[in-house]
């Protein structure tokens, strides 16, 4: 498992849930200790030179893995969309080959379940009213489609309600949320209104980054609505 830097630091519960689900399905999870960050923040903010060494680090940590499962669509999108080009830029032929070999084995968590394992029902129980937020990177860059919703529909006890404007960005966008705080807040307000309209108890997604941003506003507004990563719902028993 590649947990990613912010999940490791801020959302350990998500990592534990991934381990729980995968082990319940009979898989062995390994956690290479030297892993840190995929480089997305640097790359997307324009600090390309700072991102390059993180590619090399990722390859060193995960070479030889049967599959690399990542509970963050935006980090997987970063790797898929930019690692080949980054390897090109570093100009190391061996690294390029390794990236080409490793990338097809990298999966976002829900994608690993639906596409690699071909599963929908992972034996979860979660008796709550939930709405699903499709993060932009999962939706557009990874093409997750309705995979996450299919996993959720198979959860026992769940009451899954659809949100209006599913394809509309929540306004997080990494450093965008700070650099363009006003615009980001206005986008977020549209999203939280849509969530409130679903009357859900919790909002879920494949990205804790969007959820941290959404939860921040839901908490500020004292709505009582929680956010929870998809893995944590699928780990429910």
């Amino acid at each position: 498992m590649f947990i990613t830097c912010y999940n490791d630091t801020l959302f350990p519960a998500t990592g534990k849930a991934v381990v729980r689900v995968l082990e319940r399905l009979g898989h062995t999870v390994e956690f290479p200790a030297g892993q840190t960050c995929c480089g997305q923040m640097h790359w997307n903010t324009g600090y390309q030179a700072e991102a390059l060494p993180l590619l090399t680090r990722f390859v060193e940590q995960f070479r030889g893995a049967e599959a690399v499962v990542v509970p963050s669509s935006s980090c997987v999108a970063m790797m898929r969309d930019h690692y080949p080009k980054m390897a090109e830029e570093i100009g190391d032929v061996k690294l390029k080959a390794e990236v080409a070999e490793l990338l097809p084995k990298v999966f976002e968590f829900s994608e690993f379940l639906t596409k690699r394992l071909g599963l929908e029902d992972v034996g979860a129980y979660y008796p709550h009213r939930v709405t699903y937020h499709a993060s932009c990177h999962g939706l557009r860059n990874l093409g997750l489609g309705d995979g996450p919703q299919r996993l959720l529909r198979a959860v026992r006890g769940i009451d899954l309600v659809e949100i209006a404007g599913l394809e509309q960005c929540c306004g997080f966008g990494g450093t965008f949320a700070v650099k363009n705080a006003e615009v980001s807040s206005a986008m977020l307000a549209e999203k939280t209104n849509a969530i409130l309209n679903t009357k859900a108890e919790a909002c879920t997604a494949c990205d804790n980054s969007c959820l941290m941003h959404i939860h921040g506003a839901l908490h500020r507004q004292r709505t009582g609505i929680q956010t929870v990563h998809l893995a944590e719902i699928l780990a429910g028993e």
Partner: protein, 484 residues
């Protein structure tokens, strides 16, 4: 918005301008409504096309191929247009283009011109140059007329008056056309504009247009429009002057088969434009007797020289990315400080300024990818945005607060032990800011400095007691101890 032209060289930064624009509730309502309507229309006519993705790919191939051989196709266009009786002029920048056009209008002995909607003439601020030379330009496109009469600026490349609603348009017409009794149905407004313009069409003998496409193979120029006013400007005047960026050329007549399917469906959600005009040079018994084309570079060759930024020039100005953009939806077009707003503006404007101005625009995006998804020629706008961010960072050097923080983070991520130390330090540093909420969870409601943007409308949950890796290591050592 005042009558001051949108000029990226003097415009405030995007976050500042956005803040101002977002204070205008009426404008935001208008923009949301208009973009929702156009998007829904677009979706309907795109979804009915079984081969839309193939069409997009062909569109991309055509544009990419053209850009790779731009010099060749431009010369081919020049020679064919000249053969057909047109006169081709070359302008290296906006200044030269304005000079050529003003001189041509003067040579025709005109003091007035009628204009077809053209973003290129907006890009070079042609109207103010004409006025300074004592020539009065009349905009004939309904939306451009609204902008001109309202002393306003365009906020969208296809629907320049998208930020105005019908009531506001009626007020402008009542005031500027002196029609206090004017009604507010679309028909009333269209009739008023028709009355107002008809007389200009018949009187003014010089027309100025932009171009959607220049056809190298034939030397022809193509313009598509919805109202028919363009057709009037192209046929009634004695002298017609077209100004186009050198990126507007396409190799063959046949290429329009693809592009004229992609453009109207993406732009206005129509299967075909009501008026499609293609003219080639001059034709003595009919139409203008003199035809000039001004081919303008204005930083386009510079963009062409940048392998990663180059795809920006593939744009066919459909505006679909603007309608789809969640940022544009909140701010409208004026916040971008350029006639090119929205995602295309965020990548085109800084490059047209050769990265000397508009450096905040590449950051005016959450990188959600909605623009790339709708772009009919598959311009990977998020990729270009990131590329331009990198250029901005390189320009700004590594000695500012953000760069230093980024460098420090880079150092941290390059070492496992530094990463662990940073995780521990983060917990210590945030401790004074954390407050418990009703559920006993720790939250932060205020952050200092650059990060303060976050806590304007959001709280931040405190860091958990234990990172994932700490939990994992404990678990592993327990397993070892229990002999598992």
């Amino acid at each position: 918005m005042s009558g001051t032209a949108l000029d990226p060289r003097t415009a405030p930064t995007f976050p500042m301008a956005a803040k101002t624009m977002m204070g205008d509730t009426q404008l935001r309502k208008n923009v949301r409504h208009a973009t929702d309507v156009i998007q829904a229309k677009r979706a309907r006519v795109v979804d009915e096309m079984p081969d839309w993705q193939e069409l997009r790919e062909s569109g991309k191939q055509i544009r990419q191929h053209t850009m790779e051989h731009l010099d060749f196709y431009l010369e081919e266009f020049e020679s064919n247009c000249t053969k057909a009786g047109g006169v081709v002029h070359w302008a290296k920048d906006a200044e030269e283009a304005r000079r050529i056009i003003v001189a041509l209008v003067k040579a025709a002995g005109a003091t007035e011109v009628i204009k077809i909607k053209s973003m290129t003439t907006e890009e070079i601020q042609l109207n103010s140059a004409l006025e300074a030379a004592g020539i009065h330009p009349y905009e004939t496109d309904l939306a451009e007329l609204i902008i001109q009469l309202g002393h306003d600026q365009p906020s969208h490349i296809v629907v320049p008056a998208l930020h105005k609603n019908r009531q506001q348009i009626r007020e402008i017409f009542q005031r500027e056309m002196n029609l206090p009794e004017l009604g507010e149905t679309p028909q009333d407004l269209a009739d008023a504009a028709r009355q107002f313009l008809r007389e200009k069409f018949l009187r003014v003998t010089t027309g100025v247009s932009g171009a959607n496409f220049l056809i190298a193979e034939t030397g022809g120029v193509c313009i598509v429009e919805s109202e028919g006013n363009g057709r009037m400007c192209l046929t009634l005047p004695e002298t017609l002057i077209t100004v186009a960026g050198i990126d507007k050329v396409v190799p063959r007549f046949e290429d329009l088969e693809v592009l004229l399917q992609l453009l109207p469906r993406s732009a206005t959600g129509e299967r075909m434009n009501p008026y499609n005009s293609i003219w080639t040079g001059v034709n003595p018994p009919d139409g203008p007797r003199e035809f000039h084309v001004v081919l303008m570079d204005n930083a386009r060759t510079e963009i062409l020289g940048d392998a990663e930024g180059r795809q920006t020039l593939n744009c066919i100005r459909c505006g679909a990315c603007q309608n789809a953009c969640p940022v544009y939806r909140q701010t409208g077009g004026h916040a971008y400080g350029s006639v090119y707003a929205g995602p295309i503006g965020a990548i085109l404007t800084p490059q047209l300024q050769e990265m000397h101005h508009a450096q905040s625009l590449p950051y005016a995006s959450s990188l959600c990818g909605a623009c790339y998804e709708v772009c009919p020629v598959k311009i990977n706008i998020p990729e270009v945005l990131i590329h331009l961010r990198n250029k901005v960072v390189k320009q700004n050097g590594m000695l500012n607060a953000e760069a230093l923080a980024m460098r420090a983070m880079g150092m941290i991520f390059r070492s496992e032990s530094r990463f662990r130390a940073a995780q521990r330090m983060g917990r210590m540093a945030e401790a004074p800011l954390v407050r418990k909420d009703g559920r006993g969870e720790g939250w932060i409601g205020w952050l200092p400095g650059l990060l303060g943007g976050w806590t304007q409308v959001r709280d931040l949950q405190a860091m958990p007691e234990e990172t994932f890796r700490e939990w994992w290591e404990k678990r592993e050592s327990k397993e070892v101890a229990s002999g598992n």
